[in-house]
């Protein structure tokens, strides 16, 4: 059976309230349609500071500053019960402040799209010089800056978008073409911010794994942005653009898209390349989505809670051969939501959870933790979308009841024991199962879990191309302790082989 090691992982947030206020889709559309309304004024007044973002427990859980048991024990509402002494750096990554992130965006700019104001560029340069992951090569990419008058002219006369930090215009994002909407300043800003988030996650991944950038063989990017021009709107390739900035000279790459199911599909795509021997290692990564910042802020402002969607998420996962030292992905039990599977919640849950387990002779109880959509409930509940992670765990429990593997009265305890609290920002692909890989691998290494399932689900119908949704899943287990193929079969594998053989026999007999 093919298994692939999960060698490393990193998770980062970039705290970008000004990008959210000006270019998050909800406030942006409000401003375009109705001007500076009372909602926008209240939103600007209620934004979280960087220190507040750092002390918000779900953010710390995302970057590995606290574990999930600590998060679960945190009194609610967590925006009123903040952590004392929280650091911007966690075991998995960091929370980067907006001024440094704008500097990083400029470092990632190879087409002179981003202009920074001179004094701001100098200040940011001093800040980034202190950053443990910035090296001379990266810092040499940071521009010296432009006069305020140049930036003003570019925004007023040439369609550039102003970039703000703490209420002040500190730069602009220029358009890439006079008429091409795919190269508008808005699209380019979203793309380069996503690229910068991925670069940040990749730099952290290299640090935590101890690898050199030139050790990376392949990169798969799985955000929800589209890079291209009017002739090929989603041509790509974010992956190579990210690898280039991080100095991964020996890497190539490509992009995978499937809305929120992108990351799980991308991890599977990377793992199969490693398992086949085609690539010695693959990094799967993604940056965040500016349009989704402050997406639910209208409800947050109306209900007087802080607009919490002020961080761009990013992550990177390194896959390579199973050498017996790291948790592994199993490739013989991948969940797949096929075209004909059906769109009802139970059809989707069955395809992604029940069928892969059944294939290898396992039951719901054999999985210690399930991780599907991990949005922070304090963001989604006030917006009328409910506690999304809890709803997913309840669906899995209900399916277990329908399959006769659980009693109905045991549902609550199943959800309690198999679920995890939501701790990821509402950026589609970012909360979709993958944030749990880091915590899960740590728990597996510590022998606290023996098996977890990572689930991704995507709403393909949003693109008006198909009414279908998508989904994929995989299992993570401890390594066998032995490398690669040279090992025996487990009783579970024997059970799986027997079940497959019986199924084949049944098909032949009914034939």
């Amino acid at each position: 059976m093919a298994r692939v090691a999960i060698r490393g992982y990193s998770y980062c947030l970039s705290h970008t309230p000004e990008l959210a206020l000006h270019y998050g889709n909800t406030p942006y559309m409000e401003r375009v349609s109705h001007g500076e309304t009372e909602y926008l004024k209240k939103l600007a007044r209620s934004m979280q500071s960087f220190d507040e973002a750092c002390s918000y427990a779900p953010n710390q859980a995302f970057i590995g500053g606290i574990d999930l048991d600590t998060l679960a024990g945190q009194p609610a509402p967590m925006y009123q019960n903040r952590l004392e002494g929280a650091s911007r750096f966690g075991r998995f990554g960091e929370i980067m402040p907006e001024n440094e992130f704008l500097g990083l965006i400029d470092i990632c700019d190879v087409f002179d799209i981003i202009w920074l104001e001179g004094s701001f560029a100098a200040d940011v340069s001093r800040e980034l010089e202190k950053h443990p992951l910035m090296n001379g090569k990266l810092m040499s990419r940071l521009e010296k800056g432009h006069d305020s008058s140049e930036i003003e002219k570019e925004t007023e006369e040439h369609g550039a978008l102003p970039l703000l930090c703490q209420g002040r215009v500190v730069g602009c994002c220029r358009k890439g073409h006079d008429f091409d909407e795919s190269l508008s300043a808005h699209v380019l800003l979203e793309n380069i911010a996503s690229k910068a988030g991925s670069v940040l996650a990749l730099l952290h991944l290299l640090k935590t794994t101890g690898l050199s950038p030139t050790d990376i063989d392949y990169v798969i990017e799985c955000s929800e942005e589209a890079a291209g021009d009017m002739n090929q709107r989603g041509g790509g390739n974010f992956a190579k653009a990210v690898a280039e900035i991080a100095g991964c000279a020996n890497a190539s790459g490509f992009d995978v898209r499937s809305f929120c199911a992108g990351p799980v599909n991308a991890v599977i795509a990377g793992a199969t390349q490693v398992a086949s021997g085609a690539r010695p290692n693959v990094v799967v990564l993604a940056g965040g989505a500016i349009p989704k910042l402050f997406m639910n802020s209208r409800d947050h402002v109306r209900k007087g809670i802080p607009p919490l969607e002020d961080c761009l998420g990013s992550f990177a996962v390194l896959l390579d051969a199973d050498d017996g030292t790291c948790p592994v992905m199993r490739l013989d039990a991948l969940g797949k939501h096929s075209v004909g599977a059906g769109a009802s919640p139970q059809a989707i849950t069955s395809a992604l959870v029940y069928e892969p387990l059944q294939k290898i002779g396992l039951s719901f109880g054999d999985v210690d933790k399930f991780a599907a959509e991990l949005q922070i409930p304090e963001i989604t509940v006030p917006a009328g979308a409910g506690d999304v992670p809890a709803a997913n765990f309840k669906m899995i429990a209900a399916l277990a009841v329908m399959k006769g593997e659980l009693k109905k009265e045991e549902m609550a305890s199943f959800v309690e024991s198999k679920g995890i609290p939501g701790f990821a920002h509402t950026q589609g692909h970012i909360p979709s199962g993958v944030p749990f890989i880091g915590h899960a691998c740590e728990a597996i290494k510590a022998a606290r879990y023996k098996r977890v399932m990572i689930i991704g689900k995507g709403s393909l119908f949003l693109a008006r191309l198909t009414n279908l949704s998508d989904g994929a899943s995989f299992l993570i287990e401890p390594s066998s302790g032995r490398s690669g193929e040279a090992r025996g079969v487990t009783p579970e594998e024997v059970r799986g082989i027997l079940l497959e053989a019986l199924e084949d026999l049944s098909k032949e007999l009914t034939g």
Binding site: S344, Q346, T349, G384, M395, A398, V401
Partner: protein
């Protein structure tokens, strides 16, 4: 309710007549269900979409209301919705939409 769905509901009401239209909601959250129900009866409470100030008064039901369940083939119901009955607060959702319908609706099944 997103702006495009509001437009679709408005267009359908104009084309077929509000009295001939039934809206069935599948929202998993009672508060959200109330907002959707209010949008198609009293008008968009957020005043952001095409139904702002347009009180269509449509017959709106949550899929978990008994009236809707009675219309469904039991085997299809079990296959499509049975699992979610165990997950969601069916009574709370049904009552939420019923309350709004009784307050603002002009039509029923």
């Amino acid at each position: 309710m997103d702006l495009q769905n509001q437009q679709r509901v408005k267009d359908a009401a104009e084309k077929y007549g509000a009295e001939n239209l039934v809206v069935i909601l599948g929202s998993s959250d009672a508060e959200g269900a109330e907002i959707y129900a209010e949008t198609v009866t009293n008008g968009d409470p957020t005043f952001a979409g095409p139904l702002a100030g347009v009180p269509l008064g449509l017959a709106v039901y949550h899929v978990f209301e008994q009236d809707i369940r009675d219309e469904a083939d039991p085997s299809v119901w079990e296959e499509q919705i049975g699992m979610m009955e165990m997950v969601l607060d069916t009574e709370g959702l049904a009552n939420a939409v019923k309350g709004v319908r009784e307050q603002y609706g002009k039509y029923t099944l």
